[in-house]
């Protein structure tokens, strides 16, 4: 249960989209750090400690790898930390690498948060009226991928049980090829029946009548949803006014620019903390 479930899905989608856009535009250590930190906090809240631990483990490795790579091969920057026989490792290159790495894993983590905040059903509901065919293709894919995987297993099992003598590379390859062709045949056959079932339930009817396909999931905007969106807009405006100033003085090369405490960081922090504002009127429901 997340707080966003009390609001129209547009609220969650707008929030994540805004954060993603701002993080991508601002290659700045503090902004990137704040953004990644928020993504991890949300992951911990949404998916639990175990998922957070696993995410952090591989992502720390990835950040370290990117930072090291940049430090070894960039060569820019003035503050030399070590000189490995002509290979200069500079503080600036290391910081730039760390920032880039953190930006990358932060974005990945935001996408993971996004998928937890916004169910595919919400997206389908928003798209259904406009892109009915694509929406249906998506929902069918969600169903068919695990189904086909299960079937592929069943086919392999049948071939194995009836022809246990398949040894050697050529036989294995031939066996696999046959399994794939069986799976294709089966799925195509089934798709014909699915198509009939769709037609029998009036697929395409809306087009003939010049109407829009509807979605039972579509939700009405309540005043609460509008208020939440207005708050988001306000925070974005605040960021837009203050962040450029904070970013303006910053440079990576040749020297790291001055960091200092700027109003822009606070504004960005408030934007990240947006879910907390949403919780306030819903406290009773979440406890």
């Amino acid at each position: 249960m997340t707080v966003f479930e009390f609001y129209h899905p547009v609220v969650a989608i707008s929030y994540v989209a805004t954060v993603l856009a701002m993080t991508m535009c601002a290659v700045h250590p503090i902004v990137v750090l704040l953004s990644a930190f928020a993504a991890y906090v949300l992951t911990g809240l949404l998916a639990g400690k175990e998922a957070l631990r696993r995410a952090i483990l591989w992502q720390l490795g990835a950040v370290a790898f990117i930072a090291l790579l940049n430090a070894l091969f960039s060569g820019n920057g003035q503050t030399v930390l070590a000189d490995l026989g002509g290979l200069r490792i500079t503080l600036e290159a290391l910081v730039y690498g760390l920032t880039l790495g953190l930006l990358l894993v932060g974005l990945i983590q935001w996408f993971s948060v996004f998928s937890r905040l916004v169910g595919e059903g919400d997206i389908f509901a928003l798209l259904a009226g406009r892109l009915p065919t694509m929406t249906l293709a998506l929902t069918m894919t969600m169903r068919l991928v695990p189904l086909m995987a299960k079937r592929a297993q069943a086919i392999a099992a049948v071939q194995h049980a009836n022809q246990p003598a398949a040894n050697g590379f050529v036989a294995t390859v031939r066996g696999r090829a046959r399994q794939i062709s069986v799976l294709m045949g089966w799925s195509m056959e089934e798709s014909l029946e699915s198509a009939d079932s769709m037609r029998a339930r009036y697929w395409g009817f809306w087009r003939k009548r010049g109407m829009r396909r509807t979605s039972y999931r579509s939700r009405r905007m309540r005043p609460r949803d509008v208020a939440a969106l207005l708050l988001l807009v306000a925070l974005v405006v605040l960021c837009a006014l203050t962040l450029p100033q904070a970013l303006a003085g910053w440079t990576f090369y040749p020297h790291l620019g001055p960091l200092g405490l700027k109003a822009g960081y606070v504004a960005f922090f408030l934007l990240l903390a947006y879910p907390a504002f949403l919780v306030l009127p819903m406290r009773g429901l979440l406890s």
Binding site: G121, A161, N162, A166, G185, E190, S197, M198, T214
Partner: protein
Amino acid sequence: MSEGTPKAIELRDVSFRYVGVEGPVLRDITWSVDEGEFVVVTGNSGSGKSTLLRCLKPEIAPAGELSGEIAIGGALLSEETSQLVGFVAQNPMSQTVCDEVSDELAFGMENRGADPHEIRRRMAEVSLYFGLEPLLHKKTNELSGGELQLVALSSVLICTPHILLLDEPTSELDPVAAHNFCHALFRLNRELGMTIVIATHQSELYRSYATSWAHLDEGELRVPSCGPQLDVGKLSEFSFDEERLDMERLAKPPHGGAQNTPRSRSNDHGGLERSPRGIGSQRACNVVARDLWFRYGKGAPWVLRGLDAQFDEGSITALMGGNGCGKTTFLQMVAGILKPQHGKVKNALQTQQAYLPQSPQALFTADRVDDELCEWMGDGLHGQKASSRVRRNTLRGQRDTFPQREEINEILRRFGLENLRARHPYDLSGGQMQLLALAKVLLRRPQLLLLDEPTHSLDSPSRERLAELLHEERKHGCTIVMATHDGEFARAVSDHVALLFDGSFACMQETEEYFASTFLTVEKSR
């Protein structure tokens, strides 16, 4: 058309011919269905039942030449009147489109551009009527066949049809689910007055629900001349008796009695000679399972818990038990597909086994029925090599010179598939597909035959022919283990019945003894 209240469905001189096929599938059918009737259309596989039903729903009408007049509720069939007709097909899996149950339910109404509030309201009503709330937010892939078919029915009902057409809706379901589904239809018919037309070979199942019957034979429709009351006597000639297996014809030879007539196959199947055993000698147990424990993943419930079993050579054992009790799991374990987490399966016949899965589609690799049967033949059990050779042979158009063609012809004839040899396996009806799959595993001449629901979607004549063939295999020393819901078939065919319950066998008895001591099976009362 006629005076008084209009008929729900009315056909006048309707004939239908498929594109490129000679001879009509439906011939001059004049037929009507009253409002509120529960009609069961019977007929053998390929008699045109599906075609007839599909002709009543223009969206899915087959491509071909239709003549005559069809009226729904007194008005000629059109896009408008078609909305009064709902259609449910056979396979619950393939008629499902969406990932989540609620989306599946809403699908038809969304396509018609209905108001979301209206859709939700109808969804609520249909969920209430069938008790679907617990399923609403589940994934359709996670439902059982019975649940999924009920969802399919509900997703049609939500478009508020007046007439429901159902094409073999219960033949993919286990008996309990089939009865539940029937009951759902019964309620729609009697409580809401919905007109229901079912094409099926399971006429027995609908016996107490049907208000009238029709029989299709070679495209001609016969309607028994009986009143609104069901006249069992008049109908029995084509509807009820064919459901029952002819027990006398299938009378089993005594255990091991015919083993002195082994099939001489040494010339065409190297190394497949079976050793007949003298009557009374100790039977070998080539398949033994000891203390099997199995579950699908950590934390999942145990499917098998400490199961022990052994199967005599040359015997037929029927594994019975409810849905999800582990019959398939156990068969796959014997076949070596699954490994137990504890315990051991000793299967000395693993290289000479054949396994029929629940979905025949998993077996089909060829483009033609006869090529399908060739695949595992040639040098018999070493199919890998043989199949490539067969493929080359068939590619050169040497289908008719294939050495085992006699054997293939024989089994095609016995299963009534000889006229379909050039068809694509997927162009067969559900029952014919199952027969082809059975023929394919039987032609391997296995020493161990593992069958998962062998009578699934078979009509009665086919079940009888299958019973004969299984008895022949048994005579030649083949050990047969079949998981089945079909108690009648188990009773007619098997030597032993094993009842799988709660992870192990609740009993494993001789068939006669088992059926004599059951107290809640339908087969008991016959």
